[in-house]
């Protein structure tokens, strides 16, 4: 029967049947959960406030434009729906990368990491195309308050996706160099948490900003 201390090892380790950390050893925490993972969750909790503020600002300003086209006049819903679907599927490939590493399949983990990064890059390409076409239609960043709020919100989200892509490529390079073995699956899980968060934020943005008039 396992002791309390043994039970407190991160679930990733417990699943893999690895040596479970005891007091004084690396990886042991008094809270019983991984400190790195806890840190990421606290960060994501704070990010909710950042994106909540940006979404609220957009909702406040979306109907206040006095000149120029507003985002609502220019939305291409079929195009954005496909982008949303691509980002949603990247969450799936991200968990498949984690599942592959947890069972020790580093090759497939790398393949899913690259796929996730490519899907993220596809989403960003779509956003660049959308922004470019909006500017060509006469809606720049400073055209009106609605456009400023729209570009700030979706731009901040795009920057988050770009940071996620950089982290995914870092994981890929680490794996290529043999520095991402099965025992370090939690690193992929933590980066995955960030990636999924970017996805859930887009779920809210897609509904609130694009679909609800």
């Amino acid at each position: 029967m396992s002791t309390v201390e043994e039970r407190t090892a991160p679930v990733g380790q417990a699943q893999l049947g690895h040596h479970e950390a005891k007091p004084g050893e690396h990886g042991w925490t008094q809270t019983g959960v991984s400190s790195e993972k806890l840190g990421m969750w606290v960060f994501l909790g704070s990010e909710c406030l950042l994106f909540g503020g940006l979404i609220s600002t957009y909702l406040l300003y979306k109907n206040t434009a006095v000149e120029g086209p507003t985002p609502r006049d220019l939305y291409d819903i079929p195009f954005t729906s496909v982008s949303s679907f691509v980002l949603l599927m990247s969450s799936m490939t991200m968990v498949l990368a984690l599942a592959a590493l947890q069972r020790g399949d580093e090759y497939r983990c790398r393949a899913w990491l690259v796929t996730t990064a490519l899907l993220g890059a596809t989403f960003i390409s779509g956003q660049v195309y959308e922004f470019t076409s909006f500017v060509k239609e006469g809606m720049g960043y400073t055209t009106n308050t609605a456009s400023s709020a729209f570009y700030t919100l979706t731009g901040f989200h795009g920057v988050h996706v770009c940071i996620g892509i950089l982290m995914l490529m870092s994981l890929f390079l680490m794996s290529l160099r043999g520095r991402l073995p099965q025992a370090r699956a939690e690193v992929v899980e933590i980066i995955g948490l960030y990636w999924h968060f970017v996805d859930v934020v887009w779920i809210v943005i897609f509904t609130v900003v694009y679909l609800i008039p």
Binding site: L98, A99, H196, D199, F206, L211, I212
Partner: protein
């Protein structure tokens, strides 16, 4: 020495889902997204349309958080930190939006 089985405060984490379950979750999310887009093109009353889209988005949000982010399977501590952030954000910004009459169509 006290054991995990003896300690009522030690919560039990569960194993993460397998690949098959992840694929099912992804399929479900794709279907809900499809339903959202279909709703956009169906001419229904805004008083039904907006809450319905809100519910669908909440379902997608919760599904990703529970299955892909493993909140359903991991320690409750993580869930509390994340839910606290969400509740705080929703409360604060709902008050802000109500203060500026954002839902009345003006600021």
């Amino acid at each position: 020495m006290a054991t995990a089985m003896d300690d009522p405060h030690v919560e039990h984490e569960h194993a993460h889902p397998g690949e098959g379950q992840y694929l099912l979750v992804a399929l479900f999310l794709a279907l809900v997204t499809g339903a959202e887009v279909v709703l956009y093109y169906v001419n229904i009353d805004f008083r039904i349309y907006a809450p319905l889209l809100g519910v669908l988005a909440a379902i997608k949000f919760a599904t990703v958080a529970m299955f892909f982010m493993h909140l359903r399977f991991d320690s409750r501590v993580f869930r509390w930190f994340f839910v606290t952030g969400i509740v705080l954000a929703v409360t604060v910004y709902t008050v802000v939006l109500l203060t500026f009459h954002a839902f009345d169509g003006g600021t």
